[in-house]
């Protein structure tokens, strides 16, 4: 940074440096998204006793690249009688929050673009904007299927954001901070001496489950992919999109998946902390390796869910959200409060 500043001046150097950092996060992100689609097709393929992509490159490894090039080449068709401005705005609205949220996500205790004290709040705020992209896409396409998809998405988001928020309130209570770095650090010491047992997933187990499931719903993934509803409303909100406009929705969905898995790791699985004692050398030390391993585990669960469960109907999703998750989280928040005030509190 000093080098840049000496050439470009303090102000401009800082801007360029920050931009470089953004590129360093976003470029591997996009690669990760591409290979997440590959992983999805392979994992689900094996779960369904198929092979998955195996023609493009060794083991089909170039498949995501080929897909990307294909999508770049395709025409973006603007449906007649669609609302053109909104139609093009929608994909931007959905990719923007999916990427912006990464600004505050720490990968290790110092590897973070912006270590702000309100990072959790920032993430909550920015991710809930993603649904506008879906709803606007559903409206702008001027198709009944896409409109149904948009409506479903809106219904889904009101059912899940609340439960998700309450799940995070629990985390907030035990860590006493909105800063993601602090939340992870807090998990590193506690009743079981900072080992795997002291991470939030165990004491906050119901909240962990609610968060994980709401995360699947939040990202519109199977079995909660009603907004897309492939066998019912064809492709739901993005039924009218083609080429890169479609690809951007696709990128946003996968970037969101990775984001939710990062959040789950940070809030409940101890982020970059190692599950092993410190005496185990590099395995015992907290590092990006552990963060990536935990994220991969959560992502694998996402794929696993998709291969295991039939799609919920949207009224069933709403019922699950309002009648199960919200009461569970509410009760657990109260229980947690009482627990923290009691002599057997784990968090003193």
């Amino acid at each position: 940074m000093e080098l840049l500043q000496s050439y470009l001046g303090t102000q401009l150097g800082y801007v360029i440096w920050t931009l470089l950092k953004i590129v360093v996060i976003v470029a591997p992100m996009m690669l990760a998204v591409a290979y997440l689609t590959y992983a999805e097709r392979k994992v689900i393929g094996y779960m369904q006793v198929r092979i998955g992509p195996n023609r493009v490159g060794p083991l089909g490894l170039l498949q995501p690249i080929a897909d990307g090039i294909k999508l770049l080449m395709k025409e973006i068709i603007l449906p007649a009688k669609s609302s053109k401005g909104l139609f093009l705005l929608a994909p931007i609205l959905s990719i923007m929050p999916a990427l912006a949220a990464w600004a505050v996500v720490p990968f290790t205790d110092h590897l973070v673009l912006a270590n702000t004290n309100a990072s959790l709040l920032y993430i909550m705020a920015i991710t809930s904007m993603g649904v506008y992209g879906v709803i606007i896409a559903g409206w702008a396409g001027n198709s009944k299927y896409s409109f149904l998809g948009g409506m479903r998405s809106a219904a889904q988001i009101v059912s899940y954001e609340i439960a998700m928020g309450f799940a995070l309130v629990g985390v907030l209570m035990v860590s006493g901070s909105l800063n993601l770095v602090e939340i992870v650090k807090q998990q590193g010491h506690g009743f079981a001496g900072g080992s795997i047992l002291s991470w939030n997933w165990l004491p906050l187990f119901p909240l962990f489950l609610v968060y994980l499931i709401s995360g699947v719903a939040e990202t519109n993934r199977a079995p909660f992919d009603v907004a897309e509803g492939e066998s019912e409303i064809v492709a739901g909100f993005h039924v009218e999109y083609s080429g890169m406009a479609f690809a951007i929705f696709f990128l946003a969905e996968y970037a969101n998946m990775i984001l939710v898995s990062a959040m789950t790791s940070l809030m409940f699985l101890g982020g970059w902390l190692s599950p092993f004692p410190a005496s185990w050398g590099w395995l015992g030390a907290g590092s990006f390796f552990w963060m990536a391993a935990k994220m991969s585990f959560v992502l694998f669960c996402f794929l696993w869910f998709r291969a295991t469960f039939p799609r919920y109907r949207y009224d069933q999703i709403m019922r699950l959200g309002w009648k199960v998750f919200i009461p569970v989280t509410l009760v657990w928040v109260v229980v947690l409060g009482a627990w923290m005030m009691s002599p057997v509190s784990l968090w003193n």
Partner: protein
Amino acid sequence: MTVSEQTKVGQNYVDGLRERFGAAILDAEWQTADQVTVTIKLGSLPDVVEWLYYKQGGWLSVLFGNDERPLNGHFAVYYVLSMEGIVKSWVVVRALVEEHRPEFPSVTPRVPAAVWGEREIRDMYGLVPVGLPDERRLVLPDDWPDDLHPLRKDAMAYNQRPAPTSDSETYTFVNDATGSTRDVPLGPLHITSDEPGHFRLFVDGEDIVDADYRMFYVHRGMEKLAETRMGYDEVTFLSDRVCGICGFTHSVAYSSAVENALGLVVPPRAQAIRSVFLEVERLHSHLLNLGLASHFVGFDTGFMQFFRVREKAMTMAELLTGARKTYGMNLIGGVRRDIMKAERTRTLALVAELRVEVTQLVDMLLSTPNLRQRTAGVGILDKKVARDFSPVGPLVRASGFKRDVRADHVYAGYASLPFDVHTEDSCDVLGRVLIRAREFFDSLSIIEYALDNLPAGPVLLEGFHYRPHQFALGFAEAPRGEDIHWAMTGDNQKLYRWRCRAPTYANWPPLRYMLRGNTVSDAPLIVASIDPCYSCTDRVTLVDVKKNKSTTVPYKEIERYGRERKDSPLK
């Protein structure tokens, strides 16, 4: 054929009709021991059909018209009732319609099941069902000439096809909803159906208030083709092509119709072999539907697994018939191919493997937690609606009616084969899935038993002669319900009339009631739960919305472009 007095089954129905309607009953003639055709006066048609249907436990299997002007100077309408009361038999009610007054009293207001058949008779013969509330066409396209009725003997050649005169559909969809609704179209081409059918859902939010649909986008004119171009044995191969899944049942139904009409006694070994093939067909068809049901609820793993296992059933078909489908096996009088020892052994091994694998899969499917949530209570076919509309197959059995042609009117080798007729009282999609699963295992047992107990003897009856103007019914229980065919021999080595009714034809009319009250999410699932067979697109309509004009590209133009690759009609 002449049936002796002692063996006549169904005499009680004829006696009852004579007692009740007296002079209206003109004639009763038995075609086989359990098939009687009763000719009645036209005016009492609704009364007679209603009495047989509701008072005597009859179900309306098929109705059709016939142009008998060359024979007796009249048109005729036939209402085929499957009597499933105390005595199980077929009663065919026949009434003659005068040529100069082409109308007949509609039965639909009394027996709703007659609705599609009567609409089709109006299309095909120009006979007007007086009192039929639904005045829309059923089979013919919107722009078909009003005075051209394809199945009249003097109407048109099989390959003639009036050029389309209009680019737009004028078909009106019926919406009985009281409040305000929005239309959501499902088809003619939709992701979940490989065949064209246009469903119009009238929705309030996601809730389906009412639904209507039209089919016959790809009417192939097979009946006309068979009557004008093909010999008797050729039609067996044509009837195989009625369906891409359960074609063999159609050729069994067709050949047994001709056999029944001529009084042929098919060798027992041929009958047993037909039963084996029919059950092999049921195996792969039920696996297909179970797989699709999984797909429609978004459970693709189940779909993949069922299709993987289904390959074994296809291998079995290949082993037994030489093709992955059990096609091309039937002739009038028997089958073309015997089952040898090596094939038998390997088939039995495959049956054992299938039993193990499918047991696992069905267990997996039923223990998947939200599968039950997605299917239970969805697409309810009310018992009363079922009784009124005479649906067939797993659909009617899931509404608590024990209807299965294999048991009710024994054909092929089923008299000696062990199986149950499974019913469910839940009336929903789950019930239909469960019934299909159970029937699958029954089919495995039937195949095993039949292969172990194959009667000896020839597989084909030869050296018989065709007599003109003999007619009878033939039937077979296809995986999705009964196929019923009615064939009348002609005097030129061709059929005079062939009526082929696929099971789905009987299942479409009640579908509307099954869709009501469900959500859009469930619509494809409900449609798939009747295991429908629609049928390939013959023309394309291009719509240019910007210029507000549409052009229709005829099939021939596309075919020409396909060959020459020049002057694309699509530009």
